[in-house]
């Protein structure tokens, strides 16, 4: 049997190899999960720091590889690390009055081509950014990362019912925002 990492190897098996110090297994995990992890940070509102935070998440995965216990899903462990990286980032963050804010405010309501689409993209992200952080993280983990309620509950260390109510409230707030600013 070949010693190299097989593409179909599941996350559990890869993590077992990572725990043994196998860098090729770690590389396979990074390549498998880098896009969703990057998307997590983008949707949390860190698109310009996203790559750095995604890398930080994987560096933590490597550093904490021996703490991983295969009793939980791998993504629960991964997004717990990602969430901690995000919370650390938020603590460090100094908010600026952003150029994007000014640009969005000054854009005409209906523009042609790429600018119209840009406005829509910025509006959806801006609406997400306006949500309370606890609602936003539950929503992003459910909608953008596709995690189950139970998994989100383990990552956030809250009951499943609370996860559902945060997601419900987030969706209700977004519905109201989008109703005020139709696409």
């Amino acid at each position: 049997m070949s010693d190299s990492v097989q593409p179909e190897t599941d996350d559990f098996a890869l993590m077992a190899q990572v725990r043994a110090g196998r860098e090729d297994a770690f590389q396979a995990l990074v390549e498998r999960h880098r896009r969703p992890v990057l998307n997590f940070f983008a949707r949390m509102g860190a698109s310009h720091h996203g790559e750095d935070l995604a890398q930080e998440t994987f560096v933590r995965l490597w550093n904490y590889r021996e703490k991983y216990k295969p009793s939980a899903k791998f993504t629960t462990f991964l997004y717990t690390l990602a969430r901690h990286a995000w919370l650390d980032h938020v603590r460090r963050q100094v908010r600026f009055k952003t150029f994007s804010d000014r640009y969005r405010a000054e854009m005409p309501a209906h523009t042609d081509g790429g600018l119209g689409q840009l406005r829509k993209d910025l509006d959806v992200q801006a609406a997400l950014d306006e949500l309370p952080p606890k609602q936003r993280e539950a929503l992003v983990l459910a909608v953008h990362q596709g995690l189950a309620y139970e998994e989100i509950a383990r990552i956030l260390r809250i009951p499943v019912g609370t996860v559902k109510s945060r997601i419900f409230n987030a969706l209700a707030a977004l519905k109201e925002t989008f109703h005020e600013t139709p696409s």
């Binding site: 860098e23 770690f26 590389q27 990074v30 390549e31 880098r34 896009r35 969703p36 990057l38 998307n39 983008a42 949707r43 698109s47 310009h48 720091h49 996203g50 790559e51 995604a54 890398q55 994987f58 560096v59 490597w62 550093n63 600026f96 952003t98 150029f99 994007s100 804010d101 640009y103 000054e106 081509g113 790429g114 600018l115 689409q117 840009l118 829509k120 993209d121 910025l122 959806v124 992200q125 997400l128 929503l139 459910a142 909608v143 953008h144 559902k164 109510s165 997601i167 419900f168 969706l171 209700a172 977004l174 519905k175 989008f178 696409s183």
Partner: protein
């Protein structure tokens, strides 16, 4: 509104969920994995022995002692450091453009650096075209328009097609919105608009301008002191 047992299946939120799911996921850089692996290989912490600690503490005391002696003897400084706005104004060329380097050896960055300088100068006053920067802004915009092709694009002679088009387009749009803007600026901004990068790329670039600390270091390095000064001004 009554709580649904599964909010993701609640038909009242179908349109909201569709809009969220339509958001395009960002694409990692081609060297993402390589850079991540490199970060895992960096030493985590520096462990010093007591000998090192004592030696460094002694060296620090000597340096501090020398510095305080110099400070007590040195005359009080009289000249104040120039402000970023003054640095930008002084670095502007006679033709209205800005360069990445003193000797203008990197002309391919001229449009981007000029646009960045203008974006930094324009918000520095309530009425930029009525203030001391007016002449610099007007000549900078004239330079940009002079570099614009008939179709509104900024040619292949300049570095980083997306980035150049983006910065130049944004500078022209911002200028066209100023009070007392020249009518030709609006026309130039409209022509540039047709060449702006796609929306996702625009959002990424916007985010860099929104938070200049996040500006990729290699871009800031390539833009030289003018770009770095402009970014410092934008970060305020």
């Amino acid at each position: 509104m009554k709580l649904h047992p599964d909010p993701l299946q609640d038909p009242r939120f179908a349109d909201v969920l569709a809009r969220l799911r339509a958001q395009k996921a960002p694409e990692p850089a081609a060297d993402f994995t390589e850079r991540t692996l490199a970060r895992t290989r960096q030493p985590v912490a520096c462990h010093l022995g007591w000998g090192d600690v004592l030696w460094r503490a002694a060296a620090a005391l000597v340096v501090l002692g020398g510095a305080s002696f110099w400070w007590m003897r040195a005359p009080a400084p009289v000249a104040r450091a120039p402000s970023p706005v003054e640095i930008l104004m002084a670095a502007q060329r006679a033709d209205g453009g800005w360069s990445a380097d003193d000797r203008q050896l990197r002309a391919r960055y001229d449009v981007s650096v000029t646009a960045l300088a203008l974006l930094a100068l324009m918000p520095s006053e309530m009425a930029p075209l009525g203030g001391p920067q007016a002449k610099a802004i007007r000549s900078g915009i004239s330079y940009l328009i002079g570099q614009q092709g008939e179709d509104g694009s900024f040619g292949a002679d300049f570095s980083g097609a997306d980035f150049t088009r983006y910065l130049a387009g944004m500078a022209l749009q911002a200028a066209a919105r100023l009070a007392d803007a020249d009518p030709t600026w609006r026309a130039a901004a409209e022509r540039a608009r047709a060449h702006l990068p796609d929306s996702f790329q625009m959002a990424k670039l916007n985010a860099h301008l929104a938070q200049p600390d996040s500006f990729p270091a290699r871009w800031a390095d390539a833009g030289g002191p003018v770009a770095q000064t402009a970014l410092a001004l934008l970060a305020r």
